[in-house]
């Protein structure tokens, strides 16, 4: 009965509010990792790209999808690794 767009919009609105609440709490110390970590999450496009790159049709859509898979993966893998590398360096004073 209810159209998918409605659900999607609802989800969008809720996520935006949630994003604001969550990010507002991150302290300045962590802003660079936050930036690269969020960047990695934006690689979620990968999930959309996978569906388009695996249709089996040798058409434009498929090639575009494959390209998107590669680019989004750069974002995901690079983003998470570099964030982890940064965060591994953050240490509390012992004792």
């Amino acid at each position: 009965m209810v159209a998918a767009e409605v659900f999607l919009t609802f989800i969008l609105v809720l996520s935006i509010f949630l994003g604001f609440e969550l990010i507002n709490k991150v302290p300045a110390t962590l802003h660079t990792p936050l930036m690269s970590g969020a960047n990695a999450i934006s690689g979620i496009t990968l999930v959309g790209a996978i569906g388009l790159a695996g249709t089996g049709n040798q058409d434009l859509s498929n090639w575009l999808g494959a390209g998107a898979v590669a680019l989004a993966t750069v974002n995901v893998v690079g983003g998470y690794l570099v964030t982890d590398r940064m965060l591994a360096m953050f240490k509390k004073k012992e004792g």
Partner: protein, 450 residues
């Protein structure tokens, strides 16, 4: 099965949220990043299990290529080059959204879908070229100044009109690919045009904003391919980018539109009349003063990143502490070229994060400080922001190093910082200039101590 996959997306959305929650404290941040990456893994695996997928070879090739590039880049990048790196990743994400939007196109799509497709192409394209220009400016591969030319506004208005018209026509006649290509090309051009008039030092703001856009592009792509998790994750990223942008603008006491449209830092310097004389100091003399100090505040800035001096700075702080002094670091929110930039560099050098004080914490203590060592910082310690109403940075909160008993300023010359304005701090009675590359100067101090 399909419903199961969909529920897996729900779980992976929850993991992203949990991950971001844990990113909120240094103690749990690393775990948070892991949790978030787990969410990503789950989402990707679920997508792979989708029954619509009949051929895996191109997916595997794409993932391998992407993983190798991304992994190598992440391993090899220097911490000082973080801003450039993020810009590149950003651009890559934007392009991916553009391609997904394009690939999702089929001519019998509903208008709503067409609108979301064109949105993801548009936002993705702007993010892509905008990020590339930002990367070029930051890494100084292209001139970092603001590029302004007469008629710029007219050109930009024409591009925007073209994009609007093309988008409308595309939604009306999706079968005519001309409109699609027009929008793609124009949005790529627009990304360039939007970023070139912004000075290199404002790039961090631009990157944050583009980060937000890359999230929104993912959202739009999510609407286009009807996928919840893209929307949730994209919106989270969108919100994060906007908040970081706001924080930076606030810390610079400028509005976002001022950053985006005014070409600040494009060379027009407003001179502040300064009085007093410059008093240089040698490394040796500086050592004697530091030896006697019992409280020391270190204020790093962009110059510390340029000189890659974070490790010697850490050494110096340890020696000072061994000598009985209390050492604190004062971190201005926009010191460096990226929010949290100094924190990452000092973390790399093993400075514990509880020794890093934010501006609001260190300022009240400044009067009790014997020596404030300013390492390659300039604008963020400029008292003109407090005192001189005519200064372009008037009103920007700064670290009040001039209230310390003695101030050492380490820089190579009398050149100004990013804002291109004079710094009266250098002329104050209690200021001593320690000229030279920050790494060498501090290295000299370290040698004196040991």
């Amino acid at each position: 099965m399909d419903t199961l996959i969909q529920f897996a997306y729900v779980v992976s959305g929850a993991l992203f949220i949990f991950g971001l929650k844990q990113l909120g404290s240094p103690a749990t941040a690393r775990r948070g990043n892991m949790i978030s990456s787990l969410g990503m893994l789950l989402a990707v695996v679920s997508a792979l299990l989708d029954q619509g997928i009949v051929e895996y070879q191109w997916i595997v090739v794409g993932v391998l290529v992407g993983a190798i590039i991304g992994g190598a880049a992440a391993r090899m990048v220097q911490m000082t080059a973080m801003p450039e790196m993020v810009a590149l990743f950003n651009g890559s994400g934007g392009m991916a959204s553009l391609l997904v939007g394009w690939a999702a196109l089929n001519t019998d799509a509903a208008t709503f879908t067409l609108v979301t497709i064109i949105l993801s192409i548009l936002i993705g394209g702007v993010t892509f070229t905008g990020s590339l220009v930002a990367y070029g400016k930051l890494s100084e591969k292209i001139g970092s100044g603001a590029v302004l030319f007469s008629g710029q506004q007219v050109v930009n208005s024409l591009i925007v009109l073209g994009i609007l018209a093309g988008s409308v026509m595309f939604c009306l006649e999706p079968a005519n690919h001309l409109w699609l290509y027009l929008v793609i090309v124009l949005s790529l051009i627009f990304g360039v045009m939007a970023v070139i008039p912004i000075g290199g030092a404002d790039m961090p703001v631009v990157i944050s904003l583009l980060n937000s856009y890359s999230g929104l592009a993912a959202c739009a792509a999510g609407f286009a391919v009807n996928n919840n998790i893209l929307i949730v994750a994209g919106a989270l990223v969108g919100a994060s980018g906007i908040i970081l942008t706001q924080i930076m603008c606030k810390a610079m006491n400028r509005s976002l539109s001022n950053v985006l449209f005014s070409g600040f830092g494009s060379g027009k310097t407003e001179t502040t009349a300064v009085e007093g004389e410059i008093k240089p100091i040698s490394v040796e003399d500086a050592y004697y003063v530091l030896e006697a100090a019992s409280t020391v505040a270190i204020i790093p800035g962009y110059g510390m990143a340029v000189a890659q001096a974070q490790h010697v700075v850490k050494e110096l702080s340890v020696l000072l502490e061994a000598n009985g002094a209390e050492v604190n670091f004062g971190i201005h929110p926009v010191a460096g070229r990226m929010p949290g930039h100094m924190n990452v560099l000092l973390a790399e050098a093993d400075v514990p994060y509880d020794q890093l004080l934010e501006m609001d914490e260190i300022n009240p203590r400044m009067e009790g400080v014997d020596v404030a060592i300013v390492i390659g910082a300039n604008d963020v310690v400029n008292p003109a922001a407090r005192e001189n109403e005519g200064s372009p940075i008037y009103g920007m909160p700064v670290i009040n190093v001039d209230q310390a008993r003695t101030v050492f300023v380490l820089k190579r010359s009398m050149a100004s910082g990013f804002a291109g304005i004079e710094n009266p701090l250098f002329y104050k009675d209690n200021t001593r200039m320690l000229f030279g590359d920050a790494k060498e100067s501090i290295g000299g101090l370290v040698r004196e101590f040991s």
